[in-house]
Amino acid sequence: MSATQEPVKSGAAGAAVFAGSDSRRYNYYDPKGRKATHYEDMTVDVQPDPKRYLLQDWIISFADGTPTYYEGWTQLKSSDWHKYRAVDQEWERTHYQRQSTIVGMLKNVIENGRRSGAPARFDKAWVKVLQDHLGAYKHAEFGLGTSTMQAQRYGYTQMINNAILTNSSYKLRFAQDLTLYLGEIALDIEGFDLDSGKTHWLEDPIWQGTRKSIETIMGATDYLEQYFATNVIFEPLIGELFRSGFVMQMAAAQNDFISPAIVSAAEGDYERNLANTVELFSMLVQDQQHGEKNRQILVNWAQTHGALAVEAANQLQPIWSQPRVKVAQFADAFDQAKNRLRAIAAEIGFDVRPIIGG
């Protein structure tokens, strides 16, 4: 600075040099990689923790003394919950961009398909499959959406809760995608019964195992059990089984080029949700202090929810014989689902042989 000391007039970075004038990064947390990512800056430490910076501790509690956020809301334990980062690095802007792109894509597919008269050319037997079973399945997706909406209240860090929140947003969107899709093709297909899906969801024996699986996840009181059962158990054994192993494989042969496009969006969502989930549970299984205990808990959860899901999957089997052109076999699809579960479990680091065999 010059000796004459003009007071600084500008409020812009670099207008003066003084202690701290170059401190232009959030410096209160350790980035996971070499450099902090934008996602980390938007997310880390927004939910405080008495073990970090929360000097005065939580200042309101529930009647029984449980504080605003509580590690005991899951059986799993971590020596440092704050290490977790969502693999998809989602913050608001990326979330809206992605969701908006998906709904735009789906809207186009449906509009163009309808404009070319595609729904009217769907095979008759297939139409009934869409009406009854895709119509039933949308409720399963909604159930996962509401249970993750519940779960996002309980996590011990902002990173965990936001990953569960975006998971919920994806599931709820997809449940609505299916609802609107069916509502729109119904306009073009005479006699299409939009109420049939819910009736099948509530009453058809084919769907009762799935509904029981979903209600068990919705009713779980451990938020990480909900997150685990959703993405590690239900999604591969039932979700992907039905979406990829049935709809996406069968549809084309029934003259339906639209449904696979709709359903593929959910597969893309799941890849992200799964990556986030695997990252969290593998961190917990690898925890120096609590890893072994955590692994045991995951095995227990996998047994509970796995048994329900296997039973549910077997109940779905008759659906594979309902389309007129049978291009996929339940047995193959279910084998693939089991392989998928084995791969996920191996990555997290727990054993699924007791549930689905080696």
Partner: protein
């Protein structure tokens, strides 16, 4: 193209109506029969299954609409940089954003979390869908605000204070107030917190002051970024207000809920007033350099938004359901704003405490005095000398105002309920709860702690109600500490390890900036701990003395 066909005719295609779409979407839910959803977040209210649908929107239109809003925000931030906004921005203003933006992302995300609580209680899936959208909205608000703060840090002349933001949020005595706000959304009785405190009061009444008054003042100080972000945030609020009103309507017809609703409206209104008006009032009135006498003062804005819009058109109509509205509380809050100098006393307190802040506060000057006197007659007699003292004592080497006996300021007690200090001396009170003595800024704050946040209310068991907990008096944490050690422990020291992050001026020059050594030697103390040590008689005398207040000494 065949004759008679237009592009419009080709493109136009029958779709499902929005009414039909929302009805179908609402039909996604069902009543579980194999396993019941656990009522994990309890409430003492009874909720009737009488849904009213507040909104007709599906996610298919929601996401693109929100993405478009985002595009406008981020476009405006880029434009602000191209237009060299920071060259002309008022540092007095941006400094206060270090405090404000440290606080606000946590209340926002807490609102998202609270949607889990009301989502489970929602009578009907249409309302649950509304809560789901609000959840994603609040995720938007929290992270878009973190982004704005980072942007200030990268572009404003003095990034110190922005750089430690979430750490500062956990530690600062002023951000405690914001934590009380946020925890109030998510802890305790689910309806009390997530419906009444958050939506029926905070969002419906006070977001106007937060997200509209603040942006207007920002613009007057050359900050075009804050308005862009916060008006975009505010544009989501009408949806939230609708959600909250629907839920309120589903419980208000049951007379069994009235007692609790009256309790919660009273608590929520008073505490929102105490917290939001302290913080936002101070920032809007003292963080600005604009002294246009034609603009509305914070008190005038309050009258328009809280008194006219909220009290008269939202709260009063609730009386027709048989709810007793506490008119006198609204009057008492108004009196605190205009007769009892609530905002001015808060600004005085924040500035006295500058050494333990993490942002700069410069002195108010003659130009400011004139405006204050114009808008708040009598202001000068009360606060003129104080701010002159503040200016005089802003040079390193002077005895800091917090410890300077010449000034005549007397450090206040803290209110156990709202966490704002007990600044209106004549309203100070104390009481015993579960065998321990506590201090309060006002009778209603005393009632809030002792009567509202308890296991029973007027003889009725309230097992779901929350409790106040933690080290609520900030000063307890540093009782007996040398202030320099406390500042180090807080982390409010710049990267050279000596210069303070807070400064009582806006001079960006090392030679004029305070360092730890300038403060060492004075001790912080806890008024509450000292108060508790008094005998009952001495305590009574101390209360009487406190209520008399203090007088700032004339400055020569």
């Amino acid at each position: 193209m065949p004759d008679g066909l237009t592009l419009n005719k080709i493109v136009a295609q029958r779709g499902i109506s929005i009414g039909e779409a929302t009805r179908r979407v609402a039909d996604l839910g069902w009543t579980p029969s194999y396993v019941q959803e656990a009522m994990t977040f309890p409430t003492d209210y009874k909720i009737k299954k009488s849904p009213r649908d507040p909104m007709k929107q599906v996610l298919r239109s929601y996401f693109p609409m929100q993405e478009e809003k985002d595009n406008r925000v981020y476009g405006a931030l880029d434009a602000a940089l191209r237009g060299d906004m920071f060259r002309n921005v008022e540092p007095r203003w941006v400094e206060w954003m270090k405090l404000f933006l440290a606080i606000i992302p946590f209340p926002e995300i807490s609102a998202a979390r609270s949607m889990a609580m009301v989502g489970r209680l929602a009578p009907g899936e249409e309302l649950r869908t509304g809560f789901a959208m609000q959840m994603v909205d609040e995720f938007r608000h929290s992270t878009i605000q973190m982004n704005l703060k980072k942007w200030y840090m990268e572009n404003y002349i003095d990034p110190a204070g922005f750089d430690i933001t979430e750490a500062a949020f956990g530690r600062c005595y002023a951000t405690t107030i914001g934590r009380q706000f946020a925890e109030g959304f998510v802890t305790g009785d689910a309806i009390t917190s997530a419906n009444v405190y958050l939506t029926v009061v905070a969002e419906t009444a006070f977001t106007n002051t937060l997200f509209v008054a603040m942006p207007s003042e920002a613009a007057r100080n050359g900050d075009y970024a804050l308005p862009t972000v916060f008006l975009s945030v505010q544009s989501d609020e009408s949806r939230h207000i609708g959600n909250g009103h629907s839920l309120l309507m589903s419980l208000i017809n049951d007379p069994d809920n009235h007692q609790l609703l009256e309790r919660d409206l009273k608590y929520a209104f008073w505490q929102n007033h105490a917290i939001v008006d302290a913080a936002v009032g101070t920032i809007v009135e003292y963080g600005t350099t604009n002294r246009d006498k034609n603009k509305e003062s914070y008190a005038e804005l309050w009258h328009r938004w809280i008194y006219e819009d909220y009290y008269r058109t939202y709260m009063l109509p609730l009386e027709k359901y048989g709810i007793k509205i506490h008119h006198d509380d609204v009057g008492a809050a108004w009196d605190r704003m205009v007769k009892k100098n609530y905002v001015h006393l808060t600004a005085q307190f924040f500035s006295v405490g500058w050494p333990v802040n993490f942002w700069r506060i410069e002195a108010q000057t003659e130009k400011d005095f004139e405006w204050f006197e114009h808008k708040y007659p009598g202001w000068y007699a009360e606060f003129g000398d104080y701010w002159k003292w503040y200016a005089k004592l802003s040079t390193p080497g002077e005895k800091a105002i917090l410890f300077n006996g010449d000034v005549g300021y007397s450090y206040p007690h803290r209110c156990w309920s709202c966490m704002v200090p007990c600044l209106i001396r004549e309203d100070f009170c104390c009481d015993e709860v579960d065998g321990q003595i506590y201090t309060y800024c006002s009778e209603i704050c005393r009632w809030t702690h002792k009567t509202a946040f308890a296991a029973e209310y007027e003889g009725r068991p309230t097992p779901a109600m929350g409790r106040f907990s933690g080290r609520r008096e900030w000063e307890t944490c540093y009782d007996g500490w040398d202030v320099a050690d406390a500042i180090k422990d807080l982390g409010f020291v710049r990267s050279d390890g000596e210069t303070l992050m807070p400064q009582p001026h806006l001079i960006f020059d090392d030679k004029k900036m305070w360092k730890l050594e300038h403060l060492r030697g004075d001790k912080l103390g806890s008024p509450l701990q000292a108060f508790r040590k008094l005998t009952p008689e001495a305590r009574e005398a101390a209360v009487a003395e406190y209520r008399k207040g203090f007088k700032i000494n004339p400055i020569h």
